[in-house]
């Protein structure tokens, strides 16, 4: 989860649905252009179902809302794990562009700095 589409990208990378380095981030993954969305990234190697959820809000609020929804629907805490995308290094600038709707620039930087941000996506 995140306030930007990096949540979807992180989920895809986690399940290897998108192998790092194989994609042209300037065009692929249409969901990267959406300001808020929930994507199903499929299952990871351990069989866990992985989703990416993002909306323009304080990440603490997103986490609180998810936990609230799951609790009022009596979904046990053991059934899920929430992970926030961490914005460090070059991801700070990429997420800034995503947050302000400048997805063209965010995509360009994702492609250009390909080797510099995979390990900081908070998922792997």
């Amino acid at each position: 989860m995140d306030e930007t589409a990096l949540a979807g990208l992180s989920a895809y990378l986690h399940t290897r649905r998108t192998a790092h380095g194989e994609l042209d981030y300037r065009q692929s993954l249409p969901f990267l252009d959406l300001p808020e969305h929930l994507v199903d990234a499929g299952k990871d190697k351990d069989g866990n179902q992985v989703y990416g959820l993002w909306t323009r809000a304080d990440p603490k609020l997103i986490q609180g809302l998810i936990e609230s929804f799951l609790s009022i629907n009596s979904i046990p805490a053991d059934d899920y794990e929430l992970r926030r995308v961490t914005h460090r290094g070059r991801l700070v600038l990429i997420s800034f562009f995503f947050r302000h709707g400048l997805t063209i620039f965010a995509r360009k930087l994702l492609a250009r700095w390909r080797g510099h941000w995979t390990s900081v996506a908070g998922i792997d």
């Binding site: 929930l38 323009r56 936990e67 799951l70």
Partner: protein, 149 residues
């Protein structure tokens, strides 16, 4: 059904509206300052529990009423809940209500001074002044939601 009133801090307009909805406050005329101050959660939340639901009570039809703080992101609760509802195919139905529309400038200013700056002795009387003035709007919102659910 679950009814969730949400506002900036989850401590003024949502508390008042939830209190009217659940019968903690009468719909006949504005309550006294003491009645408002004694309401659970009134002027007590400080925004640390963003998005967390606080149970407020039940209405006559058995609907559960909650309150929640969400800063200025008034659209996000609806989006997150709707997405997860679809994902889990959840049976529990809910209604999210933005109670911030009942706020007046006195409640905004007093709320900022009391909760934002931490000067409760200055901010709270201003909030209470505003809350009593805004009461007809609060009652009107709570009553319209009660009719809907």
């Amino acid at each position: 059904m679950i009814v969730i009133y949400h506002c900036y801090g989850g401590t003024h307009s949502s508390v008042m509206t939830a209190a009217v909805h659940t019968g903690h406050l009468s719909t006949e005329g504005p309550p006294s300052n003491g009645d408002i101050k004694r309401l659970p959660y009134f002027d007590r939340m400080d925004g640390k529990d963003l998005g967390k639901l606080c149970y407020y009570g039940q209405d006559e039809k058995g609907n559960q009423v909650y309150i929640m703080g969400r800063k200025s992101f008034s659209e996000s609760p609806e989006f997150v809940f709707r997405s997860l509802q679809k994902l889990y195919n959840a049976e529990q139905t809910y209604k999210l209500v933005n109670s911030a529309r009942t706020l007046n400038w006195q409640m905004k200013l007093g709320g900022y001074i009391s909760r934002g700056l931490g000067y409760k002795r200055i901010g709270l009387p201003i909030v209470l002044w505003g809350a009593r003035k805004a009461y007809p709007r609060v009652v009107s919102l709570a009553e319209s939601i009660k009719k809907e659910v």
